[in-house]
Amino acid sequence: MMKSDIPKEKFEIIGADESQQELIGRARVSYMKDAWRRLKENKTAMAALVVLCFLILMCIIGPMISGHSFEEINPAHRNQPPSSEHWFGTDRLGRDLFTRVWTGGRVSIIIGVSAALIAAVVGILYGGICAYFGGMVDVIMMRILEIFASVPSLIYVVIFSIVLGNANLTTILVALCVAAWVGPARLVRGQMLQIRNQEFVLAAQALGVSSFKIILKHMVPNTLSVVIVAITFAVPGFIFTEAFLSFIGLGVQPPNTSWGALVAMAQSEFMFFPYQMFFPAIMIALTMLSFTLFGDGLRDALDPRLRK
């Protein structure tokens, strides 16, 4: 038999005087504050945020400062290049493109952000219910989800756009969201299933923390960062889908416009008046890039393990 009795004195806490302690005691910071601090340190993400704010600001005030209305047709000023009168030029009906780009931006950004939010909320609820109840509920709900996921989402979008008819903001949103919640739902379910089996959830149960509080304090915060990042990455996707819908004529109808509709309109004149496509296209590209870069920064900021 082995001798396992290590003298206890060898492992006594002998204490340490102040001078030997680590000096840097961090000030108390909340989780969100800390994330914000780390986000601010990320130059790329902050640049993307500045660009996004600028784009949103211009969408709000742009149409007002140009001095033209977005539906005002002026046959005398058709297909004009950018000038001091029309900053982005005019289209083939003589409408001011500067005004139309920012008016269209409103539609594009509103659709992109709200579709991503709706998809995320539905996805969190659906995935959360799957993970929380488990068993048969989970099996049935996941099969339904898989049926939705097995049809290419563009087909839903096109069919819904046609069925709902006279396309406006609401119908486009509905069409986009029919299939869009599938991704977030899967993500949330997977994440929650993983967290539910972590020992810190068991520890909370052993401490007598109520189920509601466990979901609120452990499950949701550990899922949320993934969801927030998914939302920011989804926004450019929706803007792009809307642009595609408008491009093939199923999206926003004239005289209303969006970036996609503007690009579609400019397509026929592209050989002669490329600037008509340049401005809306660059806005789409800038928005998508900014959202992607910002999402990237947000993911890093929300993960305390990446803290330096």
């Binding site: 038999m1 082995m2 001798k3 396992s4 009795d5 290590i6 206890k8 060898k10 492992f11 006594e12 806490i13 340490a16 302690q21 680590e22 005691g25 961090r26 000030a27 108390r28 910071v29 989780y31 972590q198 020992e199 810190f200 068991l202 520890a203 909370a204 149960q205 052993a206 401490l207 007598g208 923390v209 304090k217 452990h218 915060p221 550990n222 305390p304 393990r305 803290r307």
Partner: protein, 317 residues
């Protein structure tokens, strides 16, 4: 000595598919007395962890009773009684990496239980957390850190502090040292021993490290496939094991003497632990037991007292 936890005929079955049941813990009975440490040993998959978690009602028991302080916690109890039980019975986990929420600071983790069971102001809570951190050998500085900034041993200390925060009487230590390296193991075990003396704690110490179990436990139970095969006080069990499985386990302990190690006889077990989904009939150990014969397949051996305080479940003994 007064019994604190009496486990009678505890069963925990898991459904693992259509018509298949995994009997992780099957008809387990033992008693833990106030102020003692009961060690629970056995190889991986024998149901030690399930047993510990079921006693704390983290898993809903399939059957049997868990009598804590005279009250059967596996029957309907008023809410106040359940909360009392949660306050006085705590657990320390095996894996210090998944046992702490990565999005909470150490202070939030330790104070979680305090906010459930006690009414304290924020500054009072901070004071208690500070005290606990000092008690377990960390400093107040750690309060604002996140778990990923701590080493394995430090995290395990935080796990201990979280359990202590609600002033428990009984702690299930679920392999608290197996994820730590050897020098840290000794620190944690000695911390547990000194906390036990100071606060008159009762431990159920689950481990597969036999020498550690001997070091900390007053009595030791040996588990095999969801059952206890032997239960005796620590000295007796290690000096004269009765059950063939215990004997095999004991002979697997390495000694610090290389000369003795060369000549000593080791009893090697053949084969793997059978699946708890379809355990052997009769004595579950008979498929690997060197002494097994026909009678072992017929009767399920009961835990019998072979000498005072020494129980074993073998028909041969």
């Amino acid at each position: 000595m007064k019994p604190l936890v009496e486990v009678k005929g505890l069963k925990k079955y898991f459904n693992v598919g259509r018509n298949t049941v995994l009997k992780a813990v099957d008809d387990l009975s033992f008693t833990i007395y106030q102020g003692e440490t009961l060690g629970l040993v056995g190889e991986s998959g024998c149901g030690k962890t399930t047993c510990g978690r079921t006693i704390l009602k983290l898993y809903e028991p399939t059957g049997g009773s868990i009598i804590y302080n005279g009250k059967d916690m596996n029957t309907k109890q008023p809410r106040s009684e359940i909360m009392n039980f949660k306050k006085s019975a705590q657990i320390i986990f095996q894996d210090p990496y998944s046992a702490l929420d990565p999005r909470m600071t150490i202070e939030e983790i330790i104070s979680e239980g305090i906010s459930v069971h006690y009414r304290k102001t924020r500054s009072e809570t901070a004071e208690i957390v500070n005290e606990l951190l000092t008690k377990i050998g960390l400093t107040g500085d750690f309060a604002n850190r996140f778990p990923h900034e701590l080493s394995g041993g430090q995290r395990q200390r935080v796990g201990i502090a979280r359990a202590l925060a609600v002033n428990p009487d009984f702690i299930v230590c679920d392999e608290p040292i197996s994820a730590l390296d050897v020098s840290i193991q000794a620190q944690i075990v000695n911390l547990l021993i000194s906390l036990q003396k100071e606060r008159n704690l009762t431990y159920l110490f689950i481990s597969h490290d036999l020498s550690m179990v001997k070091h900390i436990s007053d009595r030791v139970g040996v588990m095999y496939l969801g059952n206890l095969v032997e239960l005796a006080d620590s000295e007796t069990l290690f000096a004269e094991p009765k059950h063939p499985y215990t004997k095999a386990l004991m002979s697997a302990i390495l000694t610090a003497d290389p000369d003795f190690e060369k000549v000593r006889e080791r009893q090697k077990l053949q084969g793997e632990i059978p699946s708890p989904i379809n355990p052997p009939s009769g004595c579950k150990f008979r498929t690997r037991c060197p002494y097994a014969d026909g009678s072992c397949a017929q009767t399920v051996p009961e835990l019998r007292e072979v000498s005072p305080g020494h129980f074993t479940a073998c028909v041969k003994e």
